[in-house]
Symmetry: C2
Subunit: 240 residues, 2 copies
């Protein structure tokens, strides 16, 4: 295995955990487990830190199985979670019936449904923190979608305390690039599922992702600087 | 002439003047006149507003002629300034001799030298405001250069009061796209000069400009939203 890649990802997660004070000692953390590579790499990384005594927290993964994409979590990936020492709970949620008449299914709506279920489970089972697998490219993609479509400078924050729920969301992969996740998943032989529900409407997101690649020329440093610039805002040098 | 283009540019300048309160009644404004199309369109627009009684200000244009690019302001463009009713003053400044030994000439250094001369002239001749011809594409280009290279969220502001000088800088073309300026200059038959001093090092800026085009897909709305997003910053949805 490519030691320096695993080491780099480990270091970037440590940096994110520290920079944004993501985990309080002894905290109970619920990991969202979609069946995809991002949440798998997140689970594997936190499990490793936990087993090495570098993460004082209790971990549990929750997979929300829904009725139009019931095979999102493969049996083989579920075994990986077990091998990493993370309990994986699966709950069935029928979301198709929740659609209002005349409304079409879409990824935004589906992920909101799953998010709500994650929060509900967390609150009912005493988890104070929900960890999600969003990475640096997700953050930049959302940033530019919000800037170009909504004329708003905002994105997914690394930590968010919701007002509606007594639950925090943390994103430990905030500083990790998607290419690092893909490569690491490949090296580890993690066979993740890509959502194939048939309602997939990622075309807009994929287009924006390609455009962010064009903007940065694919440079990791340019991407990291874009993210870092959001922490160094100079109001005197911006339009009011 | 394409009436709606001239009308659109006029409206965008009016909007910028109002949004950022650029001109105080009776103010004496010194326009930077490089010899290029941007400052020419700026001069023509403000002159028109002035002659129509829509701009209560006194206008004068200043061209800094330097010793390595002495033909930047063509005789024909100088005649246009006269036709627009704007006095055009030309001063000669030898900048080559100012270069420290061993330092190479570059566009940033040259523009800083000319900026300093503009401020000096303004202060010596009682101008309280210096108007520059930077447009929307310049603003976005600088934004992304600062984000990707310096990890800083900043750009050229529409109005800036310098601490070192008792002079404000305003950028009335802040909301106008370069393509609008090019097209309008073409329609008006304005023959502007492109700097050909031989030291031209715009390659980095040109690359970033092309990348901003790729990010936005050349969409005017996307560009305007990018700019507008800088005025709608959501701290709760950004990394701290």
């Amino acid at each position: 295995m490519h030691k320096s890649l695993a080491h780099a990802v480990d270091g970037l997660v440590v940096k994110a955990l520290r920079t944004w004070d993501m985990v309080r000692p002894g905290e109970r953390i619920l990991l969202g487990a979609s069946g995809g590579k991002d949440s798998a790499i997140l689970a594997r990384d936190l499990a490793l830190k936990h087993s090495q005594g570098r993460l004082d927290a209790e971990l549990c993964a929750l997979h929300i199985r829904n009725d139009f994409s019931p095979d999102a979590m493969s049996a083989r990936l579920a075994e990986e979670y077990a091998a990493w020492g993370i309990p994986l709970v699966t709950i069935d949620v029928a979301v198709i019936g929740r659609l209002k008449p005349g409304r079409k299914m879409n990824c935004y709506w589906c992920s909101t449904q799953r998010r709500t279920e994650l929060f509900k489970y967390a609150m009912e089972h005493g988890y104070t923190t929900v960890a999600l697998g969003h990475h640096l490219d997700d953050v930049l993609e959302t940033l530019f979608m919000n800037m170009m479509r909504k004329a708003e400078l905002s994105t997914m924050p690394p930590v968010i305390q919701y007002r509606k729920y007594p639950v925090r969301v943390i994103r430990p992969l905030y500083l990790v690039e998607e290419r690092q996740i893909l490569e690491l998943a490949g090296e580890l032989g993690i066979l993740a599922t890509t959502c194939s529900c048939g309602y997939n409407d990622r075309s807009e997101r994929d287009r924006v992702r390609g455009r962010v690649e064009a903007l940065t020329g694919g440079s990791s440093q340019a991407k990291r600087n874009l993210l870092e610039s959001l922490r160094h805002i100079s109001p005197d040098y911006l339009p009011r």
